[in-house]
Each structure stands twice: as structure tokens, then as C-alpha cells.
Amino acid sequence: MTLFVTAICLILVSALLAPLTRKGSAFWDRCSLACGLGGTLLGMGATLLALNQPGSAVLTLPWSGVGGLFVLRLDGLAAIFLLPAFLICGVGLLYGSGYWPMQAKPASSAWLRFFYPLLGAAIAIVLTAGNGLVFLFAWEIMALSGYFLVATEREQDEVYQAGFLYIAATHTATLALFALFALLGDQAVFIALPAAGSLDGAAPLASAIFLLALFGFGFKAGVMPLHIWLPKAHAAAPSHVSALLSGVMIKMGIYGLIRTTSLFAAIPAWWGWTILALGVLSSILGVVFAIAQHDIKRLLAYHSVENIGIILLGLGLALLGRSYGIEAMVTLGLAGALLHVINHGLFKALLFLSAGSVIHATGTRELNRYGGLLRTMPLTGLFFLGGAIAICGLPPLNGFVSEWLIYLGLFQGSQPLAANLLPALLAAPALALTGGLALLCFAKVFGLAFLGTPRSEAMATHEAPRSMLIGMGTLLAACLAIGLLPKAFFPLLHSATLAWLPAAPAPAAALAALAPAGSISLAALLFIILLGLFAGNRRQRRETPRVPTWGCAYARPLPRAQYTASSFAELITGLFGWFLRSRTDEVKPKGCFPSPAHLETRTPDLILDLGVTPLCALLAAGASWLRHRLQHGIVGLYLLYPALTLCILLILAA
């Protein structure tokens, strides 16, 4: 545990050195970067070391200022989240030094240098918090430093709005968490969280706690009706910040849900059903919204909603398994969810970083203005392709493994063919649909951005600097490692499952027995070898001339006459039009000598624009009406207000 605390201190030192770089001092910039990288590496090492100790590593210090204890506890469940958090934080720091160079923008670079490690350290403490006090403190530091990172370029109107939306959402979530910890009681807040499975899930209070957790943590995670802040914040933040937000910070919501459900025994079945239903909703609608986007980072942000849905599917399965007593379902569902937490962190960070280097090169987030980037940025293209394959859940990368575990868990429900579990099987086609749509979405992104011909001549693109490439390469290597050798990660998942389950009953069914990971590795290896052979064969023949994409025998192809984001997605946006409500701005060509025509589609966030915004506007109008009634300027009546309040309080107290 000493090592772990040292790591966090190092990361904090990296943040504290940041103000020294404001004036553009390269020396302090390097120092800060080195401290941050060292801290994250040390943190990963410390996490792995702590896992090898039996039980969980605990650090307890007196915290007299607030009358409680400062408790850090590192168990298997926290480790699952800590490892990708440290990795992505370190990679992001490295990437940031190329993406947001200190020489070009010293002030905002120092700003990022300060808040980026702070966010990383806060996340590490959230994950290891042993009681409510530490948790809420770290949670708030995390939320606020997230806000400052999102608002890096706050002089732009769009960024300012995104930051405002983010902070409103995160504080609403925090409010629910305060209520949650109040219900858990003083012991949980000031001393230590209850042990796994020590609370009774059948009590009415337990359901209130669960609903509060679902709201508070769901807001942070971006579960479908509560995802409103996510697309704007992710799009507005610098890319390596988006990677950390999407890859790690929204997982804190998942962590909170998993941790909260672990506290209970005898879990009611409707908890699992609710989470499963939310998972299906988030995954399908998330990917459908993603398809309709033209802004590459907004698109990736909606994919986060989708993947959070997939994680919730796994968690819902595990909860159902506990309610109905099917051990295999618990093991597979939870393992799938947790592995997907790691995987999504890795490949989503990879995607955001490679999207970032595309933005770095082209200076725009509009998909419709990219094109033919693979020629000038082959490595970035390769990394993006890797991330895309992973997120679509295709072998040989890591996304496949976790989704496969969830599929296995889903089919476990049908093994005894218990009639009351049959609806859970419906989640399998939903997951398949999600995967298919994700594939379509990334075919669109990759095709538009990297294939075809450049859409504007002036766009002189270049490959990303080396620090950015190293960062992305590390993430792709990690993705490949999980995809090729999933078995190596099973002990990690097993210890997390043990930490989630109550200690008393029989330990979890062994994951390795349920999931034939060896054959996956073999198949993935074979696939890669075949791919390599095929590519080598092609290269030897050297017969591929470079010509524009075949345009259905159209004689004079123009760069402008290519598929656009709107046209590629038209099939799906048309199918889901009743829900997406895309707005089309269209001037059709008419007559023999048509005047200029144009077409533009936009898909705003339905829930934000049609649900939350009108509701808030109504609330604001009501509040200002009330203020006009209350603020009339008659001093005598002002005096009445406290008197009436006092009377009401006295009546309530009596």
C-alpha cells in the first residue's frame, strides 16, 4: 500500500509542477511529464503487487478534521478499474505533450498539465476509497477537475456550454450520492463501507439505496436517459482529455454501481431486470445516435453510451444470476462486464487519441471534410482501425472477448430453461444488433476519413508526432494482448468476482472452466497469421495502382462526389427516423439548369433537446415567476418570511 500511496503522490507532484511551466519552461515541463509517467507506472505495479497479497490491502489514517478515518482499500474489484485508469492516464500524459505542445500554447498546456494528473489521482482515490467521506471528497475533486479539463478552451461558446452542462449533470449526480451515503449510515460514511453482502437486499431501504445509486452513478456513467452531458463534453474537451473522461471517468459510475450492489445479499430480481433493460436501451440507442453524427468526437461519445450499455448487460446478468441462484451466470456476466470495462477503456482511449491526431492534422472534427487520410497518416490509420475492430467486437482484438463472455452468460440463462429467465435471452439479439450497427458506424468513419480521396486540396495533412504515436501504440498493444491471451487476465477477473460476492457462501465458479479461452487465443493467432500471409502475398505482387475509388463507372469522379456521412448513414437513420428526429435542410436541384443545391442533416440529442431543456426552461420560468411574487420590495412582508419559516419549523419539530 505504501507503493500505491507513493504513486499517487508522484502523480500529484506532476500536477503541482505544472504552474512552473506557465512561462514556457521546457525543463519543468519534462519534470512534470516524467513524474506523471513514473507515478502511473508505479501505480500499475503497486496495484498488481497488492493483488498478490491475500485479502485486500488497507491503509487507515486518522482524519481528525472531519471526525472520521481516512481509509484506502485496494481489492480485486478496484484493481480491475485501477489498471486501465493508470495506463490511460500515463498514455494521455505522454500523448498530450505532442498533442498540446507546451511551446505553442504555454498557458493552456500548463492548465492541462495541472488538471490531467489531478483527475487521474482523484480517480485512483475514488476507486480505493474505504469509506463514504473519502469517496465523496475524491468524487468531487474528480468531477471538478473533469470540468476544468472540459473547459480548457472556455472562450469558445460551445465549450463553455458543454462545461456548464457537464457540471450541472455531475452535481445532480453528486446530490444523489450524498443521499445514498446518508441512507447507508454514519458507520459507512466515517469509518468503513460495509463488507460485501452484509446488508439485506429485501429491506425497503435497500431498494431506495439502489435507485439512488442507479441515478447518481448512472448519470456519471451516461446510461441512456441520463447521457445528456456526455456527447457535448466529450466533443468539446481536448482529445486526450476525452480519452480519459470516456475511457476512465465514466467507468467510475459503473464502479459505483458494482460496489453498491456488492454490499447486499438476497438481491431482488427487479434490480437485475432494470439494469438489463437499461443496458439494452443504452446499447442500441447509443449506437443508433452514433451513426447519425457527423462530428467524429460526438460520434465516439455516443459509442461510449453504447458500451456502457454493454457493460450494464453483463452486470444485469450477474445480478439476475444472484437473484435466481445461477452461479455460472454470475461469473460470466460479471467477468464480461469487468473485462469490458478494461477493454472499453483501452479501445475507446485509442479511438479518441487517434481521432485526436486526425484533428491535430486537419484542424476540424467534421467527418465530411476528411478523406484519403490513410496515405498521409498510415500509422494513425492503423491505430484507428485497431480501435474500430476492437469496439465492434471482432476478433482478434479485445472487444470480442468481453462481448463473448456476456453472450456465454446470456445463454447460461437458458440452460435449465427457467421460464422466468427467458426474457433475458432477448438481450442476446440486442447485443448482436448493437455489434452490427457499430460495425456499420465504423465502416462509415473509417471509410470517410481514411479512404477515398481528400475532399479539399488545401488540406495538407501530416503524420502525428512520435510521442502521440507511442501513446497510441501502447494502447493498441494492450488491446492485442487481451485479445490474444484472454486467459492471462482471468485470475484478475476471478479476484474481482470474489470481492463482489459475499464471502460466506461457496466461492465463484471458476471462469476458466466456463469459458474456453485457449481456443480463442488459438483462433485469433491463426487469424493474424492468415492476415499476415495475405498481406505479404499482396505486397509481393505489387499490383495495386493508386486510383480514385470506383464510382460506379462515372467518368469524371470529383473529390466532392463521394459518399458523405449523411448518405452513408441514411439507411439506418431512415429506419430509426421515428426516434432520431434528424433535421434535414435541403435544397433540391430543379429544372434543366439547376441553381446550386445543398443538403444538410443534423441529429441533435433527443432527450436533451426535447426532454431536459424544455423541462429546465419551465422550471426557470416558474422560479422567476415565484421570485417576482416574493421579491416585491415591501419590507414588512420580508420580515414575515423568516417568521413563517420559524413557525413551520416549530410545528414540524413539535
Binding site: H632, G633, I634, V635, G636, L637, L639, L640, A654
Partner: protein, 212 residues
């Protein structure tokens, strides 16, 4: 029931109603002064005769019975007003409200968790009733000077409470007296002068421009 403190308190409550029902400013000032002077006798009957008790009684008498009315009379002479015209709520409704709050004070006073010595005495209801009457004055009247009177009645109510606590918390009552001084100097000396000079009136309604 016929002990001197109870008689004093009874008169205090009667003065409450009288002040609430009268429109002439001079009478109001006199009544508030008389109420204060009566109250200053309370510590003499309640506590053993020590220096502290005499200080309390004497101080209260001088402040409430002599200094305040003198200042207030001077003020109304300067601004030349005789009566409160058109209060926000009429005199009869105010009196009815006063009766209601007094009844409420008696009911509420019985339900408070008090020391056995104070239970069923007139002190708590009288204090609450005076507080409520002062509050009614503050709310219903428009002139700054009548509002000051309401504030002074408020103070008188607090003074009744304070005398019960005078031995347990020695400085409580003195603090209350100091508050009186604050009213005297601050509200009358500065605020009223300024309002008068700016608007040539003492109606606080003119001050509502700053509401937002």
C-alpha cells in the same frame, strides 16, 4: 396569581393591545415607554437584590423609559408627523390578529418543555405575545418610526425572556439592552434622517425601488 410580576405582565399584555390599536404616534411612544418602564421593575421582584439586579433594572429603566421616548419625541418633532395614516392592515384587523397571536402564545407556552418553576407562569406567554405584537407592528405599519416602535416592543418581549435567564446567563440581558442602543442610534439617528432628507417622507414604501 396576584403577585406583582404577574400584574406587571398583565399590564404589558394590555399595553400590547393598546399600542396595536392606536394611531396617534405620541400615545404610541408613551405606551411603549411605559411598557418598558414597567418591565424594568421585573428583575427587582424576581431576583435577590444584588448589584447586578439593580444595574439591570436601572439600566433598562433609563434606556427604555427615558432615553428612547425622548429620542423618539425629538424625531417626530423634527419630521412633523402626528399619526400613522393608512397602515397596511387596518387597526381593527391588527387588533384581532394580536388577540389571535396572544391566544396562540398562551397555548404554545404551555406545550414548551420548560423548567417546573416557569411552567404555567405568565412569563413565557407574555414574552411570546409581546414578540408577536412587536412583529405585527413591524409588518403592518408603513412609517419608519412606527416600525422602530415595533422593534422596541420586540425587544421588550425578549427582555421578559431574558429576565428568566438573568441568573443563568448573566450577560444575556445586558446584550439585549445593548441591542436597544443599537436601534436608538442606528435606526433613528442615521436611517430616519436620511430617508427624510432624500424623500421628504418617512414612508418605507418609497424604499422598494431596490427590490431586484
Amino acid at each position: 396569581m396576584n403577585t406583582p410580576p404577574n400584574l406587571i405582565l398583565l399590564f404589558v399584555i394590555l399595553f400590547n393591545f393598546f399600542i396595536l390599536g392606536t394611531s396617534r404616534l405620541a400615545t404610541c411612544i408613551r405606551s411603549v415607554a411605559l411598557q418598558g418602564a414597567l418591565l424594568s421593575l421585573l428583575p427587582l421582584f424576581l431576583h435577590t437584590s444584588t448589584f447586578h439586579t439593580y444595574l439591570l433594572a436601572g439600566g433598562a429603566f433609563i434606556l427604555k423609559g427615558l432615553l428612547m421616548p425622548w429620542l423618539l419625541f425629538r424625531a417626530i418633532r423634527q419630521v412633523r408627523i402626528r399619526r400613522e395614516v393608512e397602515p397596511r392592515i387596518g387597526y381593527i384587523p391588527t387588533l384581532l390578529l394580536g388577540a389571535l397571536t396572544t391566544a396562540g402564545a398562551f397555548i404554545f407556552g404551555d406545550r414548551l418543555p420548560l423548567l417546573p418553576a416557569h411552567l404555567h407562569s405568565l412569563f413565557i406567554p407574555a414574552a411570546l405575545a409581546t414578540l408577536a405584537a412587536g412583529f405585527l407592528m413591524l409588518i403592518t405599519r408603513r412609517k419608519a418610526i412606527t416600525q422602530v416602535l415595533g422593534y422596541l416592543m420586540f425587544e421588550n418581549g425578549i427582555f421578559i425572556f431574558g429576565t428568566l435567564l438573568a441568573e443563568a446567563m448573566p450577560f444575556m440581558v445586558e446584550m439585549g439592552v445593548l441591542l436597544d442602543m443599537l436601534v436608538a442610534i442606528f435606526v433613528m439617528g442615521i436611517v430616519m434622517n436620511h430617508i427624510n432628507r432624500e424623500f421628504s417622507t418617512l414612508n418605507t414604501e418609497q424604499l422598494s425601488l431596490l427590490r431586484e
